[in-house]
């Protein structure tokens, strides 16, 4: 923009309507969308979070309260639990899925004949609606008629686990579903990493008499270290989004056992109908994630330069 204002009007016109103008108007719709729908919302959030908002007879009434939302934050008994649950969830799923994704990638990279079948099947969880994943697993977990119950009764087990209805098991149940859902994502990144290892390297190790385990430990793992690190960071960022399956499986319950941050903000917004406070919390999340994402960009660049 600054450049445009420095040039003479005729140049401007040439830029906008001349033969080279395609360069500008082809990117314009995207920029307009980005500014209106991703930059303006942040401004809107800032505005909302210093206000108390209410709909009275369908009219939005806004009252300026300055930093009043800080009091609401201090008085909110759930937000701390939600942050703790989110962190436990994120750490658990990232660690487990890194392991399962890597193992699966090593295994499938070793196959030839059915490779394409495996690869097609593995991406299914990433494409079906998370809500449907939630209902699928709620059928499996169901205490009365679920698959697990049916099997355990056949096996003669007396104390049937309640899964999503047991405060101690609920978060674990949700984590299991997430592993089913997202292992594939880690798998895809890891597989791309494995396939970029020069075959000659693996061949050399094999000639030297390395067995499979040694090969993984001494050749594949060191070569894959940068990929694994970056994949873990990316998965961490994406895991913070978790909402859909928790909404379906537990709705944050029982009690607050699976209350995560997105779920909490959604409840503040839609059940308590405190728009200002929801906006304030959203802003905090946006701030935190911005720092984290910036760190991801920085780290992946460093990793690529040092090890790549």
């Amino acid at each position: 923009m600054a450049q445009a204002s420095l040039t003479r009007p005729t140049d401007m016109r040439a830029k906008l309507f001349g033969p080279g103008s395609f360069k500008y108007w082809s990117v314009a719709p995207l920029l307009i969308i980005l500014v209106i729908f991703t930059a303006l919302p942040i401004v809107q959030l800032l505005q909302m979070s210093v206000s108390e908002l209410e709909f009275i007879d369908g009219e939005l009434v806004s009252e300026f309260i300055g930093l009043g939302q800080l009091d609401n934050l201090a008085k909110d008994p759930i937000v701390g639990i939600a942050i703790k649950n989110t962190l436990v969830f994120v750490v658990a799923v990232v660690l487990i899925e890194t392991f399962t994704g890597f193992t699966l990638a090593v295994a499938i990279s070793r196959t030839r004949s059915f490779s394409i079948v495996y690869r097609s099947v593995v991406i299914i969880p990433l494409l079906i609606p998370p809500v449907a994943i939630g209902t699928m697993w709620s059928l499996i977990y169901d205490y009365n008629y679920g698959l697990i119950t049916t099997i355990l009764i056949e096996l003669g087990v007396q104390h049937l686990p309640l899964w999503t209805a047991d405060p101690d098991l609920a978060l674990i149940s949700v984590i299991i579903v997430d592993v089913w859902h997202w292992t594939s994502f880690m798998f895809l990144i890891m597989l791309a990493g494995i396939e970029s290892i020069p075959p000659s390297l693996l061949e050399a190790a094999r000639v030297d008499g390395a067995n499979e385990l040694r090969m993984i430990r001494h050749v594949i793992l060191p070569m894959m270290a940068p990929t694994i690190l970056v994949a873990m960071l990316l998965r961490t960022i994406l895991a913070f989004k978790v909402f859909d399956q928790i909404f379906v499986l537990t709705s944050g319950g029982p009690g607050t056992a699976t209350q995560v941050i997105s779920m909490h903000i959604y409840k503040v917004f839609s059940e308590q109908f405190r728009l200002g406070y929801a906006a304030f919390l959203s802003l905090l999340v946006a701030g935190f994630m911005t720092i984290f994402v910036a760190f991801y960009f920085w780290a992946s660049r460093v990793v690529r330069r040092r090890l790549g």
Binding site: P19, F22, S26, V27, P29, L30, I33, L34, F37, T38, P41, L45, M48, L60, A107, R110, T111, Y118, R119, V121, V122, I123, I124, L126, L127, I128, P129, P130, V131, A132, T135, L139, D142, Y145, L147, T150, I189, A192, E212, P226, L229, V230, A231, L238, K241, F243, D244, V248, I261, I265, Y266, A279, S282, V285, A286, M289, T290, V293, F297, G308
Partner: protein, 277 residues
């Protein structure tokens, strides 16, 4: 040599178990959707398949899947078209038309940021805007949110495809007297058409499965999509399992079709944001 064959068999058996773990829940949902309530409660594996649950959700008085499906189709195809057009134009401009590096890099980082930001952040502003614009509880509101959510995927996928097209092609077209627009629309687009199709299909599926905005920007079946309808089943006191399973299977159909067409373009699109290590 014999040991090698043995290894292969064990490996493939282990992978079969993985395939089973992935496919079984899907199979379980199909099975449940074809059962009567009594068969669901008894947990039997042997039963007579019936399509009543499907009839019930589409034509029954307690469900509105006909409307929800129509909304889902309208939303997902609109989003695919809008993202397809805007995304490929922008991707072409950014990757081919001599923008300075900071401009290209800036847009890329911005898009990745959107891709990584938890969507809940945008819920309250979009809710207010949708109400102010009078589109609250219509498919238009959901389309608005989904276009933004899917723009990073659309642009980044197309940038990768354009990067594979040799530069000489456009240069030749321009020398032959084409404008840049003609070079783009008549030479480049036909070349990347398979990629463009893969991107549009993937955006369609992502929009189809999206839940948070479809839930927050709507309140009746006038604007709701299939995932919201399924989630409603769970919140009822007496869950109608058969119908819930039938609805869930309907929701999975686009994904399952896509898997049958699985190709490397789609696999690449699934890991957008993974900066090459």
């Amino acid at each position: 040599m014999r040991q090698k064959t043995l290894h292969k068999i064990i490996l493939n058996l282990a992978l079969l178990v993985v395939v089973f773990i992935i496919l079984f829940p899907v199979f379980y949902i199909v099975q449940t959707s074809l059962k009567s309530t009594a068969d669901i409660y008894s947990g039997t594996f042997f039963f007579t398949a019936r399509t009543r649950n499907y009839e019930e959700i589409f034509t029954g008085s307690r469900s509105n899947f006909a409307e929800l499906t129509r909304n889902s189709l309208v939303v997902s195809s609109s989003v695919a078209v809008i993202c397809g057009v805007i995304g490929s134009l922008a991707a072409y401009s950014v990757s081919r038309l001599n923008w300075p590096r900071w401009a290209t890099g800036g847009i890329l980082v911005w898009l990745l940021f959107i891709n990584m930001m938890p969507p809940i952040v945008f819920v309250t502003p979009y809710y207010l805007w949708a109400r102010a614009a009078g589109i609250y509880d219509t498919p238009a509101a959901v389309v608005m949110a989904h276009v933004v959510l899917n723009m990073p995927l659309a642009v980044i996928m197309m940038m990768n495809f354009f990067a594979e097209v040799p530069k000489e092609l456009e240069e030749a077209a321009v020398i032959d007297g084409c404008t840049q627009w003609q070079a783009f629309s008549r030479v480049i687009v036909p070349i990347v058409r398979p990629g463009l199709a893969a991107m549009a299909v993937l955006v369609f599926v992502f929009s189809w499965k999206e839940f948070l905005f479809a839930l927050s920007l709507t309140t009746t079946s006038a604007g709701r999509t299939i995932p919201v309808g399924i989630a409603n089943f769970v919140q009822e006191f007496n869950i109608r399992y058969g119908e819930m399973a039938a609805g869930s299977f309907v929701a999975m159909i686009p994904a399952l079709i896509l898997v049958l067409l699985a190709q490397r373009h789609i696999i690449k699109g699934l890991t957008v944001g993974a900066i090459k290590g």
